[in-house]
């Protein structure tokens, strides 16, 4: 993939006027949008159609820690774009520094999410619903605030959506680690920034999905 650029160079019929890797990544992202549409759309539909009292997300989920996590992901997006800027200017030191920060940011996000999952599961929120006799059940279901069915559905959708987002971040971190190693070996010298820009698009897309998820799942 990383070597695909020369193919497009001498062609007369340039489709969209962008190089092949970038185009391929955008095409892939269009497909990803549809994938997340299926998950997020289902959540909207299930919630809208639920006849029973839906849980208020911030009574189950810890908003401040997730807000912090959102901030971390946004920061890693900024460092990614700074890495790209460094690559276009052949600033190898900057490139390495920003890439490293990006990997750390992404890994931190996944770590915080794993911690959040652990916390939620011990509180009693499972993909299959709220565990009977758990702290969460005592607080919400037993007091009649929320129906067990709706809370169960919330749990199903919550873990599926954030889980698949987390999976995407994890894949991103793994790829980004390889990119960083390559950068340290000088693989992006001499203005070869295409690889950085392409992986960056994926990274920002995952950030963008999180922005939507954070709003729809945690805040609304």
């Amino acid at each position: 993939m990383a070597h695909a650029a020369p193919l497009s160079a001498p062609r007369a019929e340039q489709g969209l006027g962008v190089y092949t890797q970038k185009l391929g990544m955008w095409v892939f992202l269009a497909s990803e949008v549809m994938f997340f549409t299926a998950l997020i759309g289902s959540y909207i539909i299930l919630r809208w159609g639920s006849a029973e009292s839906w849980p208020v997300p911030h009574e189950i989920l810890a908003i401040p820690i997730t807000a912090l996590n959102t901030f971390i992901l946004i920061c890693s997006s900024v460092s990614m774009v700074k890495a790209y800027a460094a690559a276009t200017q052949d600033d190898q030191k900057g490139l390495r520094r920003w890439l490293l920060l990006t990997v750390i940011g992404g890994a931190t996000f996944v770590g915080v999410q794993a911690f959040e999952y652990h916390h939620l599961i011990s509180e009693g929120l499972l993909p299959s619903g709220i565990r009977e006799g758990s702290a969460l059940a005592a607080r919400l279901v037993d007091t009649g605030k929320v129906s067990a069915t709706a809370a169960g559905l919330f749990g199903s959708a919550f873990f599926t959506m954030t889980g698949f987002h987390g999976f995407h971040v994890t894949c991103g971190v793994i790829c980004m680690t390889f990119v960083t190693i390559k950068a340290f070996r000088g693989g992006y010298r001499g203005g070869r920034y295409h690889g950085i820009e392409t992986i960056g698009l994926y990274w920002h897309f995952v950030d963008l999905v999180w922005i939507i998820l954070f709003t729809i799942v945690y805040l609304i």
């Binding site: 020369p6 193919l7 391929g24 892939f28 269009a30 497909s31 549409t37 299930l46 619903g129 069915t149």
Partner: protein, 582 residues
């Protein structure tokens, strides 16, 4: 990774092929090898799906009697060779799954998109050859998982290829547990394979066209495959999302589709058909494209109304995304939605009829050569018309109320997918076989195969319309259980016998195909006297395709140009006459 970098840049000169054996034939990144790999895979699943259909037809034609040779099946499937109802449901499910996901879709996009796109647009390979290789190699685990269902406890998936929830959600309802999970995994992996392929096809067509190959000079096959790739790109992830939720319902205890946990069974249907209807066009648009190429070539005439043909492909694709609800008219969906979906569905008849009339217009005043690909293309055209017209009955909501889930719809889908897609695929195989393997398929066997297939195909599927009108439900293990269906049994028996003969009619093809691989007459460079770029290359084309990037001067359908000596004018020939004509 020299091999991965191979097809690009300076390393890629046609003719210099020093790849090791395993890179050349197994883990190859060459789009031509991958296309051929897909060909063998899809033919295997076509046979597997066809054999399942034979068992289904045996049970329907001769319910309760032992299947010949069926005694080898374990008791869980067919004690004493007599099919169990649960196994019948599994057969129906896997026949649909194999045919749609593992036979016809790879046959049309996997084979022809891979093989033809780079050759026809003048590119050395796909944009991402390594991803392309993965797109094939992901099909192996996907297909293996789909097959593995037959060998696990509880049997394979038995909720239909549509896997309607909640039937597919829980072993409580079907007795199938592991099989349904394997089915879900198989389809998700298939989705990943399709995604990698689609990204490649779209990017390649947009960015790797040779100089002069403008959008309006693309062969219609490339247009169709390009738009098909866009459809797959946007529709398959919805299926993947839906199936992942189904999988979680099965293994994690979530409740997306289970009403007992607040879930919505109709949500599955909406998601499934939002994928499912574009999928129908994923299966037919490439067929239309291939046939357009073959009909123009066989008629020795330019395609009639090329820009309209392109617009019609686009129109069908767009409408494909807003008609999914016509699969749900009697599902309990809001009836007002039914009205909307009826209107959009009816509109599909417009671009479709444009295509049919333009194909006729292409033949009009032509000089029609009846070579085997052309025969199959004509078969496509005449059968697709029936499939298209019978679709109008289902689009009319009141009529659908009666024929929905009946054999009428079974007839319709087979007229479109067999009469349409498969005849086109046969046309494509006969047409490009010389280019793929450097040898020609036998013409006489090809004619025999076409004639037998055409006759028995119609004898098999046309009477299904009558069954449907008689009220015959589909996916019924034993129609004689219902008094009102018993009088239809002679038709069922007739269909079954025709179906056995239809499968037998494929023997000449199989023989011809495998014999020609080794013994076929050597093919020249351009046996059909076609204009497209692949016919300027040796048969088979070398690794890397073009020694020098070709330049394109005109569209692909310049046949019988006045003033030319020959009745064809290749796209890359800088002819004086053509320069004047334009």
């Amino acid at each position: 990774m020299t091999a991965a970098a191979m097809p690009q840049g300076a390393g890629l000169h046609a003719g210099h092929d020093d790849r090791p054996w395993i890179r050349r034939y197994v883990f190859s990144t060459d789009h031509k090898t991958i296309g051929i790999q897909f060909l063998f895979l899809s033919l295997f699943f076509l046979l597997a799906g066809g054999l399942l259909a034979m068992v289904i037809r045996w049970q329907l034609g001769f319910p309760g009697t032992p299947v010949p040779g069926g005694s080898i099946l374990p008791d869980a499937m067919a004690p004493g060779g007599v099919i169990r109802p649960s196994f019948y449901n599994a057969l129906v499910t896997m026949h649909g799954t194999f045919m749609i996901f593992f036979a016809v879709m790879p046959l049309l996009t996997g084979v022809f998109a891979n093989y033809l796109i780079p050759l026809k647009i003048g590119a050395p390979d796909m944009a991402f050859p390594r991803l392309n290789m993965w797109s094939f190699w992901l099909m192996i685990p996907a297909g293996t998982l789909a097959l593995a269902g037959f060998f696990v406890e509880g049997g394979t998936a038995a909720a239909g290829w549509t896997a309607y929830a909640p039937l597919s959600n829980s072993p409580l309802y079907t007795g199938v547990s592991a099989g349904q999970v394997l089915w879900c995994l198989a389809i998700v992996i298939f989705g990943a394979s399709s995604l990698l392929g689609s990204v490649n096809y779209v990017t390649t067509v947009i960015n790797l066209r040779a100089p002069g190959m403008t959008w309006m000079r693309l062969p219609l096959s490339v247009w169709a495959l390009f738009i098909t790739a866009i459809l797959a790109l946007l529709a398959v992830p919805i299926l993947a999302g839906a199936i992942i939720m189904l999988l979680f319902d099965q293994v994690l205890g979530t409740h997306f589709y289970l009403p007992t946990g607040g879930g919505q069974p109709l949500l599955w249907q909406h998601l499934f058909w939002f994928f499912g209807h574009p999928e129908v066009y994923i299966l037919i648009l490439p067929a239309m494209g291939l046939v357009s190429d073959v009909i123009a070539n066989g008629s020795r005439k330019p395609v009639f109304g090329y820009p309209t043909m392109v617009a019609a492909i686009g129109g069908i694709a767009f409408l494909g995304f807003i008609v999914w609800g016509h699969h749900m008219f009697v599902s309990g969906m809001n009836p007002r939605l039914g009205t909307t979906f009826m209107a959009s569905t009816m509109l599909i008849a417009v671009p479709t009829s444009i295509k049919v009339f333009n194909w006729l217009g292409t033949m009009w005043r032509g000089n029609i050569h009846f070579h085997v690909p052309m025969l199959n293309a004509i078969g496509f055209l005449s059968m697709f018309v029936i499939g298209g017209l019978s679709g109008i009955f289902m689009a009319a909501t009141p009529v659908d109320m009666y024929i929905h889930d009946s054999y009428f719809i079974v007839a319709h889908i087979h007229y479109v997918l067999f009469g349409g897609s498969l005849f086109a695929a046969f046309a494509g195989i006969y047409y490009w076989f010389p280019k793929m393997f450097g040898r020609r398929m036998d013409e006489r066997l090809g004619r025999i195969h076409f004639a037998l297939t055409f006759v028995f195909y119609n004898l098999t599927f046309f009477p299904m319309h009558l069954l449907g009108l008689g009220g015959h439900m589909r996916r019924i293990y034993d129609p004689t259980q219902y008094p009102f269906l018993a009088p239809l049994q002679p038709i069922n028996r007739f269909i079954s016998v025709s179906a056995f003969l239809l499968l037998t009619s494929q023997l000449p093809f199989a023989f011809n195909f495998f014999r020609s691989l080794f013994r076929g007459e050597r093919a020249e460079i351009n046996p059909w006297r076609d204009n497209s770029l692949e016919w300027t290359l040796p048969s088979p084309p070398p690794h890397g395709n073009f020694a020098a990037t070709p330049t394109v001067y005109r569209g692909p359908y310049e046949y019988s140009v006045p003033g030319e000596v020959e009745d064809f004018l290749p796209q890359d020939r800088p002819a004086r006459a053509a320069a004047e004509a334009h």
